[in-house]
């Protein structure tokens, strides 16, 4: 038994309970959140060390053997995702010290933030499809509360749209899970992998797979199901925006990656090469064009969240070892960069007094070091070598060329080019152009403690982006190993169901 597998759920959950009990004292809540997220990071590092040599950690909750109980399982992909999300949680927790005012803190920012991390961690470690639905909902209800926290009109407007569209997505996910249970008689993902192959009518499995694409795709904000994202992501507090942009959609991508390498591999020509490929290309184009159409920094980054989901879906659609490794690499890169971009936009808005291009400018004159710091995630977003964005795009494009999928490669390159245009535009509007109100104050104008809380996460995340760029090979090695595990899932199945896996019962003979 290894309790480390349950740590991504238990640590944030305990932190949520403790911060909830301490809701009267804002400093205590902050200290508890920081301590909890640090513990989560340490546990995530320990988890990665445990699985790095191909070991798969499994825990059957409550001692109920798979496939009857709920299984928690951690393989390489899970460990990588948990580590990156723990890092983001810590960075955002530090940023929130300078960003979340005591009023918002007293209305429950800290407990709900931890609850959101419970959902994220749970979705990564669970080995049961229905349980995954439950963690998605935990995440969703946490995000509802965080979005509405503060209660400005603009926020309520965004939260209502977000809530309504996500409620429909929830129903779709539940229906997909139910139908899959109906044809296979199990919800354990490892056993599902064995049983879906034995379903006599494979057409039904493909239909259910498409329903899963719709459900998870809505969570991941892919074309044409992404409209809730640009409607809502720019409205809440900066710390909330950053954690949403960094993690929430990526959990959807993770779920797609897991289910479409483990369970739905029967008709890859149609599901992967057909539907997912089209979705990938259209998501990239729609996202990047949207980001060029708005004149607001935070809204531009929101659209960019959508655009870069497309790259990850493209890797999954290509479905080769190199492409899937590229997806894992891209997930790591994108989570760091998107969190960083939103945190940076928060600082820019604080200094410049606006998020509109028209009300911004003069940043280079006011805070040259900060401008350089912001350049790192922006350049990585556009794919400048040698930053992380360059390598992750390179791997995906290479995988596309190997498969001779010229169209998707062309779309990926055009999207990269347009992203570069956006970055150039943002740089000109925000950093170089003189500020409309004359000179603005630099970061030195902020109180020392707040300055540290706001800038330290930017330094950390930009440092990670540079480090991934300079030492791309170790990250690529980890990603390749995670991809190899995903594409040959037999050890995963054996680790959960025991050795040898019990022969699946023929379907259609349910009690």
């Amino acid at each position: 038994m290894n309790w480390l597998v349950a740590a991504p759920i238990l640590i944030p959950m305990a932190t949520a309970a403790l911060t909830g009990l301490a809701w009267r004292s804002v400093p205590l809540q902050r200290a508890l959140t920081l301590a909890g997220m640090t513990a989560l990071l340490l546990a995530a590092i320990a988890l990665l060390l445990q699985v790095q040599h191909g070991r798969i950690l499994v825990m059957q909750m409550g001692g109920w053997a798979a496939p009857f109980g709920i299984t928690l399982v951690a393989d390489m992909l899970t460990a990588i995702m948990v580590l990156v999300s723990a890092l983001m949680a810590l960075a955002v927790a530090v940023y929130s010290l300078g960003d979340i005012d005591p009023v918002r803190a007293r209305t429950g920012f800290h407990p709900v933030f931890c609850a959101l991390m419970v959902g994220v961690g749970g979705a990564f470690v669970t080995g049961d499809l229905f349980n995954m639905y439950v963690w998605f909902e935990v995440m969703l209800i946490g995000s509802f509360v965080l979005l509405a926290l503060g209660g400005r009109k603009e926020q309520l407007d965004g939260a209502i749209k977000y809530a309504c569209l996500n409620l429909v997505a929830t129903a779709a996910l539940l229906l997909a899970v139910a139908l899959l249970y109906g044809v296979t008689g199990t919800l354990n993902m490892a056993e599902l992998a064995l049983r879906v192959r034995m379903v006599p009518n494979q057409g039904i499995v493909t239909t259910i797979a498409v329903l899963f694409i719709v459900a998870f795709g809505m969570k991941a904000a892919v074309f044409p199901l992404f409209f809730w994202l640009p409607a809502a992501y720019h409205t809440p507090a900066v710390a909330v925006q950053a954690i949403f942009a960094g993690l929430l959609t990526k959990v959807g991508v993770y779920a797609l990656l897991r289910t479409f390498t483990l369970i739905f591999t029967g008709d890859t020509g149609w599901t992967h090469g057909g539907i997912l490929m089209w979705i990938a290309g259209l998501t990239m184009l729609a996202g990047v064009l949207g980001s060029l159409a708005v004149r607001d920094l935070r809204r531009a980054w929101s659209w960019q969240v959508v655009a870069h989901i497309g790259y990850m879906i493209m890797g999954l659609a290509l479905y080769t070892p190199l492409a899937v490794a590229g997806v894992v690499f891209y997930l790591v890169h994108d989570i760091v960069v998107k969190t960083n971009l939103f945190l940076g936009a928060g600082v820019v808005r604080r200094l410049g007094g606006s998020a509109d291009y028209a009300g911004l400018g003069g940043l280079f004159k006011a805070a040259p070091l900060l401008a350089v710091l912001l350049f790192v995630p922006m350049a990585s977003l556009a794919g400048f070598p040698p930053l992380s964005g360059f390598w992750s795009k390179l791997v995906l494009v290479q995988a596309g060329l190997e498969q001779q999928s010229w169209a998707i490669v062309a779309v990926a390159l055009v999207t990269g080019l347009l992203t570069m245009a956006l970055v150039g535009r943002v740089w000109a509007e925000v950093v170089w152009k003189p500020h409309p109100d004359g000179d603005i104050a630099g970061t030195a104008a902020l109180p020392a403690g707040q300055r540290l809380a706001l800038v330290a996460p930017l330094v950390l995340l930009s440092g990670i982006t540079v480090a991934i760029g300079l030492y791309a090979q170790p990250v690529m090695d980890l990603s390749s190993r995670a991809a190899a595990d995903l594409l040959s899932p037999e050890p995963y199945i054996r680790a959960i169901l025991g050795e040898p896996p019990p022969p699946p019962v023929l379907v259609g003979e349910l009690p």
């Binding site: 969703l140 509802f144 209502i160 929830t170 139910a178 109906g182 809204r299 009690p511």
Partner: protein, 136 residues
């Protein structure tokens, strides 16, 4: 019986789609309620229907004896109902607060987060009003 339930699910979904297409946010939420009920019924349906055989271990026995009803769907449905209840209660609070603050239930009138683009009169980005400077 399965056929009857299947048609019920279909009718519920049809009703919910009709409501979801409404501009009124409250109707939209009612549509979501119907949809989640339809999904719960379909979980019940796919689990297989068994009449009059509750999955309870008889007095004096130690194992379940066939035939018995599939006990899993009720656990799944209960979880789904609980989650749906929580999400829906929160959404109702949200729409209610939205109605209080913004003063409308018309989905089309909600343009605060995404203000309609004003045609650039004076040329370029400078013509766009910096509407949220005060909120900074």
């Amino acid at each position: 019986m399965e056929i009857v339930l299947a048609f019920t699910v279909g009718a519920l979904v049809a009703g919910s789609v009709y409501l979801l297409l409404s501009r009124n946010l409250l109707r939209l939420l009612f549509g979501v309620i119907l949809l989640s009920n339809a999904v719960n019924l379909s979980i019940f349906l796919v689990g297989g229907l068994t009449f009059g055989a509750p999955p309870l271990i008889a007095e004096g026995r130690s194992v379940l004896e066939a035939p018995y009803a599939n006990p899993l769907p009720q656990a799944l449905i209960l979880t789904a109902i609980v989650i749906g209840f929580g999400l829906l209660a929160f959404s109702l609070v949200l729409v209610y607060r939205g109605h209080q603050e913004i003063g409308t239930l018309d989905g089309d009138a909600l343009r605060l987060a995404e203000p309609p683009e004003t045609p650039a009169a004076g040329g370029g980005a400078t013509a766009i009003p910096t509407q949220d400077r005060s909120a900074a």
